[in-house]
Symmetry: none
Subunit: 222 residues, 2 copies
DNA sequence: GTGGTTTCTCAGAACTCTCTAAGAACTCAT
DNA sequence: ATGAGTTCTTAGAGAGTTCTGAGAAACCAC
């Protein structure tokens, strides 16, 4: 169980030639999973947390635009690049308005696809990457948590990653399975999560992470 | 005096014909300001907070890509759509890697431009199930009741479920049998309901649940 | 290699939640 | 005012969940 720096990408493409080819093409920069129909694609999109989705417009069982619309209706904000053979402006507008963030028509240039995906997944932070945690803050680069009084607490990489994950959506309650997926890309041994929550509470404060009994964990107030 | 709902957009475009035309085109959906060279564009981009920028690639005084790179270097994360006459894939990749979020080549379709800008500025609100309870509210996911003063009271799953059930029809009086059915799919031991009503009143307030003698319970005023 | 750190597993302890049960307090029609 | 019915309150046992610490394994820098 170890870190994979690549971002996770769900590719939904039914073409038996283009699908694996595109997956291969993207595998340098992304951890790619391939789904070959809209139904499966939607299920996989919902069953894990992805950094970005690439969705073909014309898909069996469920249309790409409908897939994206369904995701958006559920409040999933993951960036989506829609891929399609249909090239008219109306198609593009329809796809974008369904909830896609970008739209690329086939045949596309491999370099452009990767560049657009980079643009979609890129996040900007002033100077060093510092996330506010209520009164506290976490510098992701140095992995130092700073208290309002100026105390600085060093975190390990996993501890920092967990705190960052929780901080991405402070309101949300993350299940053990979700955290396990986000931190380790694993599905078994959810007990690790408890242990790291324990570490964080020891290092920062008892209330840094809130337990929602029977559900999971949520960012608390340090 | 009324609030201008439109999003703010800074258009940086030097073409004396295309600039005002595009500004006009976008003015239905955006509050547009036009800058006609890269230097001025960068200054205006930094001197205010914009919802989105549209930047031409070829600009006098400072190139569009350099403008965006400068913004990004300062940690400005505003979405940028780059507009250009140069259409090669290398140009697109260069523009995107400079920090643009989207790239459109001239001549572009007005509808597509607007659709892409909508996609860039769109934000998804996670469908957080928050029910209003008079002055108070209950977040179903975190099971936290928030008072008008900001106090947050954690509920257990059953307490939260009961409050949610009562809140579905605030006017209605629920019999014990109905609540029992809704919460436990049970028919016996209606005494549990009383107990949980008691818990809710303890945690929130005496008046959170109203008793209708001989009938059942109703949502009260916390 | 060696020593130090970090990561992961595990199992018992501690805790929370749920639901029952039973007496006390209340309500209301007579 | 009385009593039958209804509601409130409290305590506690059982099931399940979470916490915690200790040790083994992996990793890393020297």
């Amino acid at each position: 169980m170890s870190f994979d720096q690549r971002l996770s990408l769900l590719l939904v493409e039914d073409d038996p030639a283009l699908g694996p080819l595109t997956a291969e093409l993207l595998s340098d920069d992304f951890r790619v999973e391939l789904a070959t129909d809209g139904q499966t694609g939607l299920r996989r999109a919902l069953s894990a947390t992805w950094d970005v989705l690439v969705v073909d417009r014309g898909l069996p069982l469920r249309d790409g635009a409908s897939l994206v619309a369904a995701l958006r209706a559920k409040g999933v904000a993951t960036p989506v690049l829609m891929l399609t053979a249909l090239g008219t402006t109306e198609d593009k507008i329809f796809g974008l308005d369904a909830g896609a963030n970008d739209y690329l028509t086939k045949p596309f240039d491999a370099g452009e696809l990767v560049a657009r995906l980079r643009a979609l997944t890129r996040t900007y932070r002033a100077a060093s990457m510092v996330l506010p945690l209520g009164e506290w803050e976490l510098d992701a680069a140095t992995r130092l948590v700073t208290s309002p009084y100026g105390d600085r607490i060093p975190l390990t990489e996993t501890e920092s990653a967990m705190l960052r994950t929780l901080a991405t959506e402070p309101q949300r309650v993350f299940t053990r399975a979700e955290l396990l997926q986000a931190l380790f890309h694993a599905e078994d041994t959810p007990g690790v999560i408890d242990t790291y929550v324990h570490y964080l509470r020891n290092k920062i404060s008892k209330t840094a992470v809130r337990t929602v009994h029977g559900v999971g964990y949520q960012l608390g107030e340090p």
